[in-house]
Amino acid sequence: MYVAVKGGERAIENAHRLLADARRGDQSVPELSLDQISEQLGLAVDRVMSEGSLYDRELAALAIKQARGDLIEAIFLARAFRATLPRFGASEPVDTGAMRVRRRVSATFKDIPGGQILGPTFDYTHRLLDPSLAEGFVPEAPATSEASTAPTPRVTDILGRDGLIESSPQAEEGATIGDLTREPLNFPADRDLRLQNLARGDEGFLLAMGYSTQRGYGRNHPFVGEIRFGEVEVEFVGEDVGFAVPLGAIELTECQMVNQFKGSATEAPCFTRGYGLAFGQSERKTMSMALVDRALRARELGEEALAPAQDEEFVLSHSDNVQATGFVEHLKLPHYVDFQSELGLLRKLRKEFAEASLEADASDGMKEAAE
């Protein structure tokens, strides 16, 4: 039970004034603009969009600024903003196969049609702090070379042609697409709901869960079939318009994890798949998501589900950092009445204990006297 705190108004108001001042920091230092956050802290913006489940770079940058760089707080702000707008509907599913690829690597095949494109990546950097970035750094213009117009098919499509990998499950006729922003999550949850949950799930949580599968808690022998990052077009069928309207493009990262085989008496063995998809350039997130997606398919694939990452209720109930932080952080709100009743109970128990001890002492004394 929570109690209204009377008399705290002025303290709260002044605390928020102090927060505003602390947020701004030393005012002789120039203020951050939203463009600066969006352009120079782009991966933080991507994370807030992904886990805030709201694609809007400017709003995510504002949330980061308001939250003083606390990304979970910023994600909370983004989620809360969603509630202020009406929903026009749902987009046509995006076609990641038609992505304008800015990065695309495969750890399973060296020679893939369209090639291995490293793009803007931290991979192969030496992870040494670079003092030249501290101030006034002007990067060289990016190198260019002739771009091929050849398509870049997904690696899983290539494996799929020979039947070496399971095909993606297709929608059943007339099936509705689960939406956990509309109905609370129930278990067992179908793959659509699981993927929606993981897509907005906390990167750190999914990273730890994915890592646990690699360390043997639900091992599934993963290879990165492909990671791709780039722009995809979004289309929306406006009822008023009557056809699919192009809305513009969003940046997405997709990870196709290729995992060890399944097969049966009637089906030839083939690789299985785990899938990750997230807004922006979110490689660690999509890789972790793909590992966990695969782990959560244990039941469907007839595997023993003994590890935490294979426990759908455990994973899906704890992946959301807004829910998690809400419940953990509410502990610091006033619980005076709750605590008073606990205190009362404790006092009563201690009194009973003391009385019982006295009685025991007394009866011991009597025993001794009798002996």
């Binding site: 995006v94 494109i117 190198a143 070379s145 897509a199 309207v245």
Partner: protein, 154 residues
Amino acid sequence: MDSVSQHNTQQAQRQAAMAVLAHAEAGEIAARLRTISLPGHQDLRAPENGLVMLRGRVGGDGAPFNLGEATVSRAAVRLVSGEVGFGYTLGRNSEKARLIALCDALVQSRDFGAAVERAIIAPLREQLMVRRKRQAEQAAATKVDFYTMVRGEG
């Protein structure tokens, strides 16, 4: 041309124009619109911001799932000659939605269709293609050229 294929052609033209306009800045569209003398028009629906749930597919090509929402602005504009245009764009720029709606109405107009294509859509498409080409060339420069090391004496 029969009326069905005429309708399909016009729909394809409108989609192609929208695909360009959605990628342009509101200021660029407005500046180019100023180069033609516009017919009278009014808001059929005032610009409105909202959300669209973005969908992906399991494995990239399977059953759809809900990935997360995006902000979208939309508007509808009617020309005095009766054509109704719709504007939809990612983001919350309602002025841009209105400008796209106006362009969409003009694209459908017998009197203005060609002028809009020439003065607005074609140059913006050109800009977009240049931008995409540059990005593709930058990505292409990071493509790995594998070569095999010869081991031993051969």
